[in-house]
Symmetry: C2
Subunit: 353 residues, 2 copies
DNA sequence: AATCTTTAGGTAATCGATTAACCAAACAAA
DNA sequence: TTTGTTTGGTTAATCGATTACCTAAAGATT
């Protein structure tokens, strides 16, 4: 290793500008400098204020948030834990939340828990340890720490997927049960009664609620849950589950012509198989999904889906966080209005009715 | 406001456990506790070590990374700035990097710059101010601060899209020029010579290089750049640009039958229009994209694409970061081997040759 | 003139963890 | 016995910013 590189390594020439340097440059104490920088001007003369501001400018000073966070025991950072960034719905929600947070002067720190409880716990701890102002979980999984954190002062907000036990927690997102009911209504109104369900794990409240709403409504119309075939498999990602599940349906003697997938990703998987088998996803089936993936209008025109526009999440999430901080937390889940996106064939069909 | 809520607000019962509390609980000094917790055992007796570990366990202590970061002037956090999380390619890369970083004990903090220079600058500053160990930029845009940061000690790594000026910077990702050449080769080998290009801004090195490689190779085979029609529009997202651009091509008297889109998102946009016009994206055209979006095999079987598997990014990125930290930075861009994904029709065609 | 008030700003403690420097006791070597 | 040396710790400084509390000087009031 050349010696000039060694030198650099020995002491990273920390060219960070600290408050002390600004204060020295302006010939005032750090207290004065700090006050002026934070806009507390009633303790300084016009002259001093100008000096300090000049020093800040000249040195290119920016407060180290880490120092402030340590002292104030609170940072401007909001941790966002997403279950799977590979799922465009979740990344789009995260992106929307980022916009809204930055608008209010907060910084988003996004992490990917890969749907694993211990990774989620690790990040929960890390956020705590970084003194995050709040933790937003897009797609929570049941984990050991989750319940502890619910009560230890950290602001915790569940987005898109309710808390595993739904108790003492704040939620922003779709009304999963109602969405299930609405899908059932749409199908029934258009004379679709031969329905199959594809689902992954039902441990997640979101999926379970969607299914419950759907089946409840179908029951009311005389379609017994036992007459609604289910296909699923666990341990794979939703795309693969959808694919495998569709295989199951295609092998059935009297296969359903409506395939309700409890998430769009499942529908994507099912679609792949229909393509490979030379079937038509619009003529031969009616596919329904949940979440309305933002890519749907572009690459999945065949899919019907119900969901909340991703851009609605950011404002609602931030508004809810602020309400919690203001000691006026919502007492009810914050349900965002969901919308249907229907494919052309189904749309025309529904017009005729 | 009820009084019990007021009380809570007055002083957030900071139930964080600090090192001092652990030390007190174990009847040792913070120095001793700190050393034991960090595994420096040559300064402590067996007895003391057990005491401290018991205290840590009983109190559920976890070091506040903020304190450590302040003291050591360095955190375990790596900032990842993505240009657009709504783009599944970028989120998938981020997700992969997250895995690899966590494997090495680092924490990813992901931000969305929305392709905007000043947001990128804001996050660059914030990362600096949080003492991030490194900053990884997935899709950098030219910005004021970018050049400063290249030289002020912060480890900076460009992923998937080279630095705007390509000088003095580290890059991990696809060899854009070569990928362009390879696409040209594949087309030529299969007798495809009537080619159109859809692109968004060519200010980004990635897009410009792809185009250059493509046109250079076509030139060699006697297809002059002027004979390769281009369609583009600025200011919209890639999906919309693709859609608009495809309109342009469809209106042309002698429209190309091969549409090379400089990103998959552009291809998605173009695809939407072909669907709406009742055209067949496989029979009527040959679509080529770049990046091989991970969703392609599931919902875009019609697309041919060249790209690097998202999962390859994480390991390569982390390895490069470690090399930089070890004072043995790569002197060349780190090119990850790219692969082709061909649609069925094109694959069969290429077999025949 | 004596006292009070305001202005302008400094001193030092604090947040949590790390670590250089120091120290007392035990033990070993000369 | 005196002089190292090792063991097992402690004390206190430090990182960067904030802020409660103090103070000196100037101006206002009685």
């Amino acid at each position: 290793m050349p010696p000039n590189q060694r030198r650099k390594q020995k002491h990273t020439t920390t060219n960070r500008v600290s408050l002390a340097m600004v204060a020295a440059h302006a010939n005032v104490s750090t207290a004065t400098a700090s006050r002026i920088i934070n806009g507390i001007t009633n303790k300084a003369s016009e002259q001093t204020i100008i000096q300090v501001k000049k020093a800040v400018e000249e040195l290119g000073y920016r407060p180290a948030s880490i120092g402030r966070a340590l002292r104030c025991q609170e940072s401007r950072m909001v941790g966002v834990l997403a279950a799977s960034l590979a799922n465009p719905t979740m990344s789009a929600i995260a992106s929307s939340i980022e916009w809204a947070l930055r608008d209010e002067g907060y910084i988003m720190s996004l992490c990917d828990t890969h749907e694993e409880a211990d990774i989620q716990d690790e990040y929960l701890r890390e956020m705590q340890s970084q003194l995050a102002r709040a933790v937003v979980i897009i797609g929570a999984v049941q984990s050991e720490l989750l319940n502890d954190y619910r009560h230890n002062g950290t602001t915790l907000l569940f987005v898109n997927r309710p808390a595993p036990d739904q108790k003492n927690s704040h939620y922003v997102g779709i009304n999963n049960y109602q969405a299930g009911v609405d899908v059932a209504n749409t199908l029934l109104q258009n004379g679709k009664r031969h329905i199959g369900i594809i689902h992954a794990s039902l441990e997640f409240t979101a999926a379970a609620e969607r299914r419950r709403g759907l089946l409840d409504r179908l029951s009311e119309e005389g379609i017994h849950p036992n007459d609604v075939p289910h296909a699923h498999s666990e341990g794979l990602n939703h795309l693969e589950v959808g694919y495998k599940s569709m295989e199951t349906f295609l092998e059935m003697p009297n296969r359903p012509d409506v395939i309700v997938c409890l998430s769009d990703m499942l529908a994507y998987g099912a679609y792949r198989l229909t393509q490979e088998m030379g079937l038509d996803p619009v003529e031969d089936f009616t596919f329904f999904g949940f979440d309305d993936n933002p890519l749907n209008p572009w690459v999945a025109g065949w899919l019907n889906s119900v969901g909340v526009p991703a851009s609605a999440y950011g404002p609602a999430t931030v508004a809810t966080l602020k309400a919690i901080w203001n000691q006026s937390p919502p007492t009810e889940p914050v349900y965002l209005p969901h919308q249907f996106r229907l494919n052309k064939a189904f749309f025309l069909l529904s017009l005729k009715k």
